[in-house]
Symmetry: C2
Subunit: 321 residues, 2 copies
């Protein structure tokens, strides 16, 4: 199948569309992490994004791209993670109903967050099949538009706005790194970098959940089976919308062991004094473990989010000892 690159104007439209609903997040630097890495690092702090993660960008763009009629009928997703919260908060701000299908075994704290943001929770069975069946039932009943957390072009275009801001704020980057989970952030990053810069885009993926690495190597989408990683945001599958973007625009994927991710995460806490989740710290680990690629280069790193259970941080950091 032929790959058709989305027009650059679509990227810029997404940026314009969501601008009043998201923060233009700051870019941070650390003298010490530059010394350690031998590179010049520019951290794009999506942990400071509303709701604590880049997901707000894609969620807002997906909702704002709908017609007024569609908006009135609302949006729908099945997610137990950040995207459910992002879609709920974006819906509340824009003023449309959000229906969130969550498995019965979803932790209470995640349900509470969605409720806080005004999302309507519908419980489903715990299997993917039950979840999807329930979502389809709600869709037929309400007429709401289903929004996939990562395999949706408008979500990807929304996510692209983080890298758009980064290349606007920092000139002449050689590389931009983003984590690889469901593929929505890395695909948006690749689109933005290709359209607006000469930076090569590299994905960082956990060794214990390297389905994207294997999928790109073999040219077929492998499901993420029994993922084994502390990066809880990076356990999901690629999809047919983001995969061709990655096949055409991604420079490469670097696989990272959890131990190295946790070490990088500790450096970010201790040296930069900011809170990030393991799924974000993985990009710094990829840089630190590969000086032959990054030494002497100007490197943008998308810190995807900072939603971590602070009461369990000691447990996380102990993994690197």
């Amino acid at each position: 199948m032929e790959f058709i690159l989305p027009k650059a104007s679509l990227l810029l439209e997404a940026r314009h569309r969501i601008s009043s609903f998201v923060h233009h997040t700051p870019v941070m630097q650390s003298r010490l992490l530059n010394e350690i890495s031998g590179a010049t690092l520019y951290f794009k702090c999506e942990n400071f994004q509303r709701m604590g993660a880049f997901k707000m960008r894609g969620a807002a763009n997906a909702i704002l791209s709908l017609s007024p009629d569609e908006q009135a009928r609302g949006v729908l997703t099945h997610s137990s993670g950040n995207f459910a919260q992002a879609l709920s908060l974006a819906s509340k701000q824009i003023g449309v109903p959000a229906h969130i299908v969550m498995p019965q075994n979803t932790p209470a704290v995640k349900k509470a967050a969605v409720k806080d943001y005004g999302g309507r929770i519908i419980e489903s069975g715990n299997s993917p099949q039950e979840r999807e069946a329930k979502a389809e039932e709600i869709r037929l009943h309400t007429g709401a538009t289903f929004v996939h957390p990562s395999n949706d072009l408008q979500v990807i275009l929304g996510n692209s706005t983080a890298a758009q801001e980064l290349v606007e704020d920092v000139n002449d980057l050689d590389f931009i790194l983003a984590p690889v989970g469901g593929g929505g952030l890395i695909a948006g990053t690749a689109l933005a970098a290709h359209a607006l810069s000469t930076a090569k885009v590299i994905g960082a993926e956990p060794s214990g959940a390297d389905d994207a690495y294997r999928s790109l190597r073999d040219g077929v989408i492998y499901p993420s089976e029994n993922p084994d990683t502390i990066c809880d945001g990076l356990r999901t599958n690629l999809g047919d919308v983001n995969f061709p973007i990655l096949q055409n625009l991604l420079h490469k994927i670097i696989r990272v062991d959890d131990k190295d991710t946790v070490h990088a995460m500790r450096l970010i806490y201790e040296r930069m004094k900011i809170v990030v989740e393991p799924s974000a710290a993985i990009v710094l680990a990829a840089v630190l473990m590969n000086p032959e690629i990054f030494s002497g280069k100007r490197v943008g790193l998308i810190l995807s989010g900072g939603n971590v259970d602070v009461r369990k941080l000691s447990e996380v950091f102990s993994l690197a000892e």
Copy 2:
């Protein structure tokens, strides 16, 4: 004894003197913490200062205020905490020797940090008397100038630059809060606010180490005896240099229980996504526990630092449960 207010020009000179050795740190806001507090909060992020704390400001100013001869002979302090690191790093940058007297029982990690920053460590016995005797011995031997971590006018003037930046960046503050430990930061904050704004300055002090509260109430300096608080930076005594400044310029001291400090610290991690130490989070706790003072007001909060052992964070956060 008559109190003589240091001239405003001294404050501005300190600011100018240290400007190339410290960061002008950012001011952060949080929509959610504004909602929770009912006030408009401006967080002065000294956790992003070099070396992770405001202490760099006072250390740099103390060294830069010396004559060339004095600088050549070096500086000297006894401290096992942040100030030892700050004096070491500032000395290294300015190019003067730093002698740091540390008790034998100082944790290895703190000694390593001082060594990393180029400080020369001299071990002493563990009692305050032994520490002071050793410092005096080194002073006589080297001719180095002793710099007290908090009871030194040049240190206080250096510390004042954090609040100077804050009132320059944010207009019309009603209050500025800073933590009260040895009195060096709160005294500098009070001087800056008095000279350059109409803001009232309030100190936040742990209930379990409320020597400054009692000292100001009774008009005598009480030593800090058996302090019982998680705020390890706030266990020290006031001194004869900073006490009169506080007597004349401080609006009041609010005492804060550790449980409330830890709760505030968790809000800062979860909502602002930044790393702070308990001694910094105490200022937010003081605001949250006293809506009758702060509701509807514009409040500056000096987040003094972010040097915390991240491997022990779970332990800290469990104190609020």
